[in-house]
Symmetry: C2
Subunit: 315 residues, 2 copies
């Protein structure tokens, strides 16, 4: 199978390595910290066992997937022969710009250079490159081997061919690509998360709800539908004749609410004290790491549930 290079083998790089190796690709891991790729492969070996136990390895055993991964100390060797480079280095503009200069020199001119960045627009760190048309963002939600959505975001100079090659690779790797036509701060997912969080902070700041009330309203309420339909299919099925019918019924209600949502709550002000107090009461600081492991188990169980339901009743 073709080879993919992981540049930056921390938390996000590891996750990508699992997705690509599971799909059959040879995966070469590099990191500025020379011990990181080996550490990543050790971590991945453990995760592969969990994935197999949840039938999330496409019927393969961990022993079939693990040998596809290799640690590489030399960046040029890692990139040699790669059809796709997945970059996951820290979100520091100068670090990215310098790295992309090196990647653009070392990688074959048609190899796609894809950044996992969530915070930086692709135009900001690729404008100076000779082969900048093969650069784009492929932003996952972590971990990509359990959560399928990936935003594929072009800079103004990204070629259609690079976008299409990435779309096909994402499908091959079992992801669900969101193909953006132009870049915008926060892409799609962080913008929707931001819009929802803004209202959540406002509701807590206004004394209408606690952090836990908000979480109940999503986790025991709205997300029960969103988790397998998304918000547009949800409203399309929530009025007898579909989405136009829904808008006809509720547009006025939402227009009225919108007028009340134009002021931002100061996230770092007194409201944050209240939210933090609520959270720490439910989860002491020294239990955060344990709870993150619980979250990862639940994400895996939910991925297995969705896969099984989609096989039974369709997507």
């Amino acid at each position: 199978m073709p080879k993919i290079a992981i540049v930056g083998s921390g938390f996000i790089g590891r996750g990508w390595a699992i997705s690509y190796a599971r799909a059959g690709y040879d995966v070469s891991l590099w990191d500025r910290e020379t011990s990181a790729p080996e550490a990543a492969i050790g971590y991945i070996a453990e995760v592969l066992g969990d994935l197999a136990a949840n039938d999330l390895l496409n019927g393969q055993t961990p022993d079939e997937v693990l040998p596809r991964l290799s640690a590489e100390g030399d960046l040029a060797a890692a990139l040699d022969g790669a059809v796709h480079v997945q970059e996951n280095v820290p979100e520091i503009l100068e670090v990215k710009r310098d790295l992309y200069t090196r990647l653009d020199d070392l990688a074959a001119p048609t190899t796609v250079l894809a950044s996992s960045t969530s915070a930086l627009l692709p135009s900001r760190f690729t404008d100076h490159l000779k082969h900048r048309e093969r650069c784009l963002v492929a932003h996952p939600i972590n971990p990509p081997y359990l959560i399928k959505a990936v935003e594929v975001v072009p800079a103004p100079w990204t070629s259609a061919a690079a976008m299409e090659q990435t779309r096909l690779l994402m499908l091959e790797a079992g992801q669900s690509p969101i193909m953006m036509t132009k870049e915008i701060d926060g892409f799609i997912m962080n913008r929707m998360q931001g819009a929802l969080l803004e209202e959540a902070f406002r509701l807590v700041a206004g004394g209408y709800a606690s952090a836990e009330d908000v979480d109940i309203g999503i986790r025991e309420g709205l997300a029960a539908r969103w988790a397998f339909m998304g918000p547009f299919e949800t409203i399309d099925l929530n009025a007898p004749s579909g989405v136009r019918d829904y808008v006809g019924r509720y547009d006025g209600m939402f227009a009225n609410m919108f007028e009340q949502m134009k002021t931002r709550a100061d996230w770092s002000g007194e409201v944050l004290d209240r939210i933090e107090e609520d959270r720490r009461q439910r989860l002491p600081a020294d239990k955060l790491e344990e709870r993150q492991k619980w979250r990862d188990r639940r994400l895996m169980a939910l991925a297995a549930h969705k896969r099984s339901e989609e096989e039974k009743t369709g997507k």
Copy 2:
């Protein structure tokens, strides 16, 4: 067990009847349309079979639950001896006001009168009542026997006793009550849904995303976490030291996005044509009803999944 009266036995009333009967309450169903309560009980008999098959009847058989339901042609008889009235009539202010006048006369003075309204503030249809202190909103996400969140919303004159009695009833019925301290348009859940939909419409209107892109970003992305954590626990676990750490890292990013979110897209304008076209391409209008059944099966499967995971690894 104590008795609960369902006033308005359409889609929402039926759902409540299942929740209450499953919890052991005797449930009396009334409707202005005299054939509706019998029809509701026929429908409920079918649903109880599905719930039993998914182990969502608390270990009971449908035959144990069904006899707790009874159709009542006379409103006074339906209310007689009820500890709680769950009202589910159309969202028309004058209809509600007139009905509450009757309910206030007929029900014992301490019986809680709870409305399922999503669109009307409780103060708007209870201000004129003699015993208005026992009136409130208990707004479910449908269907309540599968989706736990219920907003409990006081009018300015609602008593603490009525709120507390309702909170305990919701817990008894297996719901997750969100106890609001004062009323606001859209309560908690529709406000958060509205905030997210606003950004979704804006992204489609701006040509950044299709309706399907937005749905992928939630259903294959953000909602994978929200479905068992909610948005605040999600960000609390998404930075090493918790929510304050998260806000310190990302507040600037979200503040910048917020400035771009102050203009409303015209939901009923050209953007709606595009969204409807996208939806109808994926789901023809004559398949909406079939897809609603698919949704209900998936909601049931997700509820069963969450229940089983919570038993295994905690909430």
